[in-house]
């Protein structure tokens, strides 16, 4: 199965001049323009994704996209899976082709979050938490992620770097302060990378102090550690190998797909054992209750499936980059561990090593291992924005351009191009980790 083209609108706080149909049309035209031999009549069907009917206030909005694109009467279905909606849409298109049902499938996603005020938008998002037990407590996803990262810092900083501090409150405060500092590195990195990505919503040069001093949203997460509401659309064209070879001399092969799930409520997460990657041992985690609320078992399950299918046994050396669902700086660090870039508990040190930073960029931070495995070279959700139904497809498009070596052409700036990138991963994440997708993309030329 091959990815041959994609398109993205600029992600923005609001696109009042375009409704969802026009946004998708623009992203679709961009994708089609790159593969001139692919006439619309050769597209066998579509998979269309958006997260929330509340945001669109238009049920069956995917039918209106299908209609606007002139795709009727071809087959289509709407995909929704929370924050992982775009990642699921990508895999649904993959499956349509892999099953033999289609030779060419268009995956298209969008979200129009600007139609309500930010705090109403937070309410819509929080309706994707249990409305009996979770939502009435504050209806606030940043609060849920704060709960998770406070425990993560307790497990992995309090119990290691601050194990010698006797006063429990003091030890935990110092662990959280250290965790906040490291999360700020992620924010600095992603915003900085995005300065070279014209599609990004909030590119900026920040210092760790800027991030720490930005408004406290839910302790210990500050505003600059959290993605924002966006309008935007993205498309990806998947097809069989013979069609791919005909359409482009730079096709990208999808070599692995994985998905995982976990409980809707954080309160129900089990305390069991870690499912291991080939490079890990049970003894590494003998004392760890897993996943608890500190880690994303769904991300681990998705990684295990996708790596196995793609034949990866040593992801940090076998992947050249990852576009990862950093809705929060905390979840980027947690996901390093879920995806086996480092062991559970090593996410903070891994960040400080510089490994997920780009080699040739100046961040104002000491990053000796920069370039080892660049994570979110595009700027990720934190800097690009997160129009939910488009986000996972945006990652696919940015990954495609990395692997094609066409970042300079598409971004009008060669800075973010990872030299000789051969294999990358995209990672899309829903809820408090209730669903995650991982897909592996490789150069097919």
């Amino acid at each position: 199965m091959f990815l041959v083209s994609g398109g993205v609108t600029k992600f923005a706080k609001a696109h009042p001049e375009m409704d969802f149909r026009l946004m998708v049309k623009r992203a679709c035209d961009q994708a089609l323009a790159e593969v001139p031999n692919l006439t619309a009549d050769r597209i066998d069907g579509t998979r269309i994704s958006y997260f929330s009917d509340h945001f669109t206030r238009q049920l069956k909005a995917a039918s209106m996209v299908q209609d606007y694109l002139g795709m009727n009467p071809k087959g289509s279905v709407r995909i929704e899976w929370g924050g992982a909606t775009g990642g699921e849409c990508f895999q649904a298109a993959y499956e349509a082709v892999a099953s033999g049902r289609m030779d060419v499938c268009l995956a298209a996603g969008f979200e129009t979050m600007s139609r309500v005020a930010t705090w109403k938008g937070n309410e819509f998002i929080a309706l994707a938490s249990d409305t009996n037990y979770d939502f009435p407590l504050g209806g606030f996803y940043t609060g849920y992620y704060a709960l998770m990262v406070v425990r993560h810092m307790y497990e992995y900083l309090r119990r290691s770097k601050f194990a010698n501090v006797k006063d429990e409150r003091e030890a935990q405060r110092r662990a959280i302060a250290e965790g906040q500092r490291v999360m700020s590195w992620v924010s600095v990195k992603n915003h900085r990378n995005a300065l070279h990505n014209p599609y990004a919503q909030y590119p900026k040069r920040l210092t760790v102090d800027d991030v720490l001093r930005s408004e406290m949203i839910s302790y210990p997460l500050t505003r600059e550690q959290i993605c924002t509401m966006s309008d935007g659309a993205a498309t990806a064209i998947l097809c069989t190998e013979p069609v791919a070879r005909e359409l482009t001399d730079r096709p990208v092969r999808v070599t692995g797909v994985g998905t995982g799930t976990d409980t809707m409520r954080l309160a129900d997460r089990p305390f069991g054992r870690v499912p291991l990657y080939p490079h890990e041992r049970a003894a590494d985690y003998a004392k760890l209750d897993y996943p608890g609320v500190h880690s994303f078992r769904a991300g681990r399950a998705a990684g295990l499936e996708a790596y196995r299918m793609a034949g990866l046994t040593d992801p940090i050396h076998q992947l050249d980059f990852i576009e990862l669902h950093d809705a929060y700086a905390s979840s980027e660090i947690q996901t390093y561990e879920d995806l086996g870039l480092c062991k559970y508990g090593e996410g903070y040190d891994f960040t400080l090593s510089g490994a997920p930073f780009l080699k040739h960029l100046e961040y104002g931070l000491p990053v000796p291992e920069a370039g080892k495995i660049p994570v979110n070279p595009s700027g990720g959700l934190i800097a690009c924005g997160h129009p939910v139904g488009a986000t996972g497809l945006m990652q696919a498009v940015f990954a495609l351009w990395q692997l094609q070596g066409s970042v300079a052409k598409h971004f009008g700036d060669p800075t973010l191009q990872i030299a000789n990138a051969k294999r990358g991963a995209i990672h899309s994440h829903a809820g408090t980790g209730s669903a995650v997708t991982v897909s592996i993309l490789e150069r097919g030329f």
């Binding site: 705090w119 937070n122 929080a126 407590l137 704060a146 302790y219 129900d268």
Partner: protein, 174 residues
């Protein structure tokens, strides 16, 4: 008929929508986007169904969890569920201790629109002796400076009840 008022800033325009219901945004390309107010209010008839005893229990000052009825499993869920997540068997109601410990916590300085007036508020995932899962609740009578993982807490109950999860909250144990 006069045309709706014209604005260049999206933010300014929002107030006009509240006043007159329509406004025009002059966008970056010089185009005119007509924007209208579109309110939306719904009354849901929501049944707690199999979870009803939990909420009725809160009204009586009881914290009910659920215990798996299968011998050899017996998993206790602090957030109740009708069937066991581990083995799929039916559960029965079991009273939880009124005291527990903070498993994790946060202070929210924002929230959904409906909860903004209540900020800042604390949330805690509470662990109980004898239960294998947690309960998410508000944590009161303490601030960011007081709370820590492992802190002993006690349940308090609303009277009269509103039949919401907020009928129970926790405070630092005396």
């Amino acid at each position: 008929m006069p045309r709706p008022k014209k604005f260049r800033q999206f933010r300014e325009l929002q107030e006009e929508l509240g006043r007159s219901g329509a406004a025009i945004l002059e966008d970056k390309a010089g185009g005119e986007d007509l924007i209208v107010d579109s309110p939306y209010s719904i009354r849901y008839i929501h049944s707690y169904a199999e979870d009803s005893p939990f909420f009725l229990g809160l009204a009586e000052g009881k914290l009910l969890g659920s215990r798996c009825t299968r011998r050899g499993c017996g998993f206790v869920f602090a957030t109740p569920r009708g069937h066991c997540m581990v083995c799929g068997s039916p559960t029965e109601w079991t009273e939880l201790p009124r005291s527990g410990r903070v498993h994790s916590w946060t202070t929210c300085h924002f929230g959904s629109e409906a909860f903004l007036r209540e900020t800042p508020y604390n949330l805690a995932l509470v662990e109980f002796d004898g239960a294998g899962s947690l309960l998410l609740a508000r944590l009161k009578d303490c601030t960011e400076a007081d709370v820590y993982v492992g802190m002993p807490v006690e349940a308090r109950f609303a009277s009269p009840p509103k039949y919401l999860i907020t009928d129970v909250w926790f405070v630092p144990a005396r």
